[in-house]
């Protein structure tokens, strides 16, 4: 009788571990599928879109090297485009997480600076290429980009 109770308890414990493994496996699977979808739909981009809260959206090409100052909410960040890749070179935020995000060159990859509310994301060239001039020639000094090319 006692033994039967013990085995019952054991099987119950096993069952609950199985549920845990199922949940963890499911979470891994969801993440894996999500990653696979992102990977399969990724394409090389030709330009980056720079968005800063309260500022105009600016698009800069990836095939030209350049150094751009971006005015954020709490300070200025510097974006560097080199060899077709963009990376945050300087940041006024305390954690520097955006600099740690490294280089980006595939569509929809992005660099985000939360403290300064700046989003830099890679876009496909075709549909937005014409937007570059219209966003930057509104005034002599673009709102977002102050530095210009090197």
């Amino acid at each position: 009788m006692k033994q039967a109770k013990a085995t019952h308890k054991e099987s119950k414990q096993k069952k609950s571990i199985r549920l845990d493994l199922l949940v963890i496996g499911g979470l891994l699977l969801v993440g894996g599928i999500f990653g696979l979808v992102l990977f399969l739909t990724s394409k090389p981009g030709k330009a980056v879109e720079i968005r800063a809260t309260g500022e105009k959206t600016v698009i800069v090409p990836l095939d030209e090297d350049g150094r751009y100052e971006i005015q954020g909410v709490n300070g200025v960040n510097v974006l560097v485009v080199k060899d077709g890749k963009a990376r945050m070179d300087e940041a006024s935020c305390p954690d520097g997480i955006c600099m740690a995000m490294g280089e980006i060159d595939t569509v929809n990859r992005s660099i985000v600076c939360l403290p300064n509310e700046i989003v830099v994301s890679v876009i496909e060239t075709g549909r937005t290429w014409g937007g570059i001039k219209s966003t930057t020639t509104d005034s002599d000094e673009p709102d977002v980009i102050a530095g210009g090319k090197q």
């Binding site: 549920l19 845990d20 999500f34 992102l38 968005r51 954690d95 955006c98 992005s110 939360l114 509310e117």
Partner: protein, 171 residues
């Protein structure tokens, strides 16, 4: 009755102080993790402990007060929004999972870790008005899983070993 209240007050104070210290300690650790923005979530040890040893209410309020106090001391309005979204989402989900009683503490912590990161990304998507955070969400999905695992193992041991702190049930 009065003694109950005092003991409760002391326990809550202790847990909130501990959670705040762990928040601070974590902020001092430089980003040695490969993943930018990844955090270990040390304070979740306290939340797990409160959840499993004291009660749902204490887990909720300890984390809420910890977030408010830490933001007031070291943060700003923006960091408060991110912390609140992540912290409250993960705490609420963990409360529900604990209530279901079907999962081990480690699994509860893993789901909580992922929810924390998902909550923060959702706020970021709203504040920054962008959907360009998909890759980041992917990275933080797995980093939340990993840190939830580590914290869940530590928290589980704590819950097992620390039986002597007065709880609602023993008071």
């Amino acid at each position: 009755m009065r003694q109950n209240k005092t003991a409760k007050l002391a326990t809550y104070g202790l847990l909130i102080a501990l959670a705040m210290i762990l928040s601070y300690v974590e902020a001092q650790i430089p980003a040695f993790f490969i993943v930018p923005g990844m955090k270990l979530g040390l304070t979740n040890i306290v939340v797990l402990f409160a959840l499993y040893r004291i009660g749902y209410k204490s887990a909720f309020f300890v984390n809420l007060l910890r977030i408010l106090l830490v933001s007031m001391l070291f943060g700003n309005g923006m960091s408060l929004a991110y912390s609140l979204a992540g912290g409250m989402l993960s705490t609420l989900v963990m409360m529900l999972l604990k209530r279901s009683g079907k999962l081990k503490i480690v699994t509860v912590s893993i789901v909580g870790g992922i929810c924390h990161n998902v909550g923060q990304i959702l706020v970021a998507i709203v504040i920054l008005q962008t959907t360009a955070l998909a890759w980041y969400l992917l990275v933080l999905w797995f980093s939340g899983l990993a840190s939830g695992l580590v914290i869940g193992l530590i928290g589980g041991e704590m819950v097992k070993r620390l039986n002597k702190i007065p709880t609602d049930r023993s008071m």
